[in-house]
Assembly symmetry: C2
Homo-oligomer: 130 residues x 2
DNA sequence: ATATATCGGACTGTTTCAGTCTTGTATGCT
DNA sequence: AGCATACAAGACTGAAACAGTCCGATATAT
């Protein structure tokens, strides 16, 4: 399953929305305009906030706003924040370790491929979505 | 979950093994030498055969052998053969369709990213694993 | 004939995904 | 002060995919 989760897709849509508007947007606003489940999107925005990409204002007239310039937010960062396993293989992740890691004959090339993919995703930012 | 399945990893290991040996190898041989489950690997090699990457010989002294030159087998091809969903998003796949596809504001950029990733994986072949 | 090896499909426990629901907290407005 | 608004946090669910196993069938060299 070499596929981005819906969380990442919705996260990107939300960030794009915030970048386009500039000001404060509520979860309801973003979810309605983009046809995304309110509850799901709410959780996603909370995670993005914890990561430091956006900041929140509680209470009446509250909502979310971007904390960084769109061109400073790469796809990689969004994926890192929202995806559970974001490395191509276990051995290209820092926190995991594969049982057959020392016997594995493709570990090296996999690392290279991972690096290439990461730098590719690093080169695309929210600014490119506008 | 932006991760290659174990099937793909084992498939790559098996193809690398066949490329290194040159001749005929049995499933048992490959699974033993690489510490991969026999049953699982057997199914993987059957799929690779159906795809036309390798050919099989049944019966005593049978086994599998490469049908193509190592540099002709790209990672993309292996992923396509073994992975169920191999596109970054639903909309970058030919057979699937996303419900919010016409309203989606990130569809275009996602396609571009998919293209870039595909060409990256297309440029890596079994020959690079040797 | 028989041992060897692929072929094909059913089956299982575990994990992840996508989405929902509920309860709590902060805050602007009247 | 009180209320409506909007974020905060976590539990919970059904469905799907993953990784692996098991078993019976078929083909073939010796
Ligand atoms: S060591 Fe080999 S088998 Fe293990 S995760 Fe890395 S590539 Fe996959
Ligand atoms: S259309 Fe948008 S939401 Fe649907 S799969 Fe493509 S990117 Fe994801």
């Amino acid at each position: 399953m070499l596929r981005l989760s819906k969380k990442v897709e919705y996260g990107l849509v939300a960030l794009q929305h915030l970048a386009k508007r500039g000001g404060v947007s509520t979860v309801r606003e973003i979810s309605d305009e983009n046809g995304i489940s309110y509850d799901l999107l709410a959780k996603i925005l909370q995670e993005l906030k914890r990561n430091g990409m956006i900041c929140s204002y509680q209470g009446v007239r509250g909502g979310y706003t971007l904390m960084l310039a769109p061109q400073e937010i790469s796809i990689t960062r969004v994926v890192d924040a929202l995806e559970t396993d974001n490395s191509l293989t276990e051995c290209t992740s820092s926190s995991e370790c594969c049982s057959r890691e020392e016997a594995c004959t493709i570990k090296g090339p996999m690392r290279e491929l991972q690096t290439a993919m990461s730098s590719l995703m690093n080169s695309v930012t929210i600014a490119q979505l506008l």
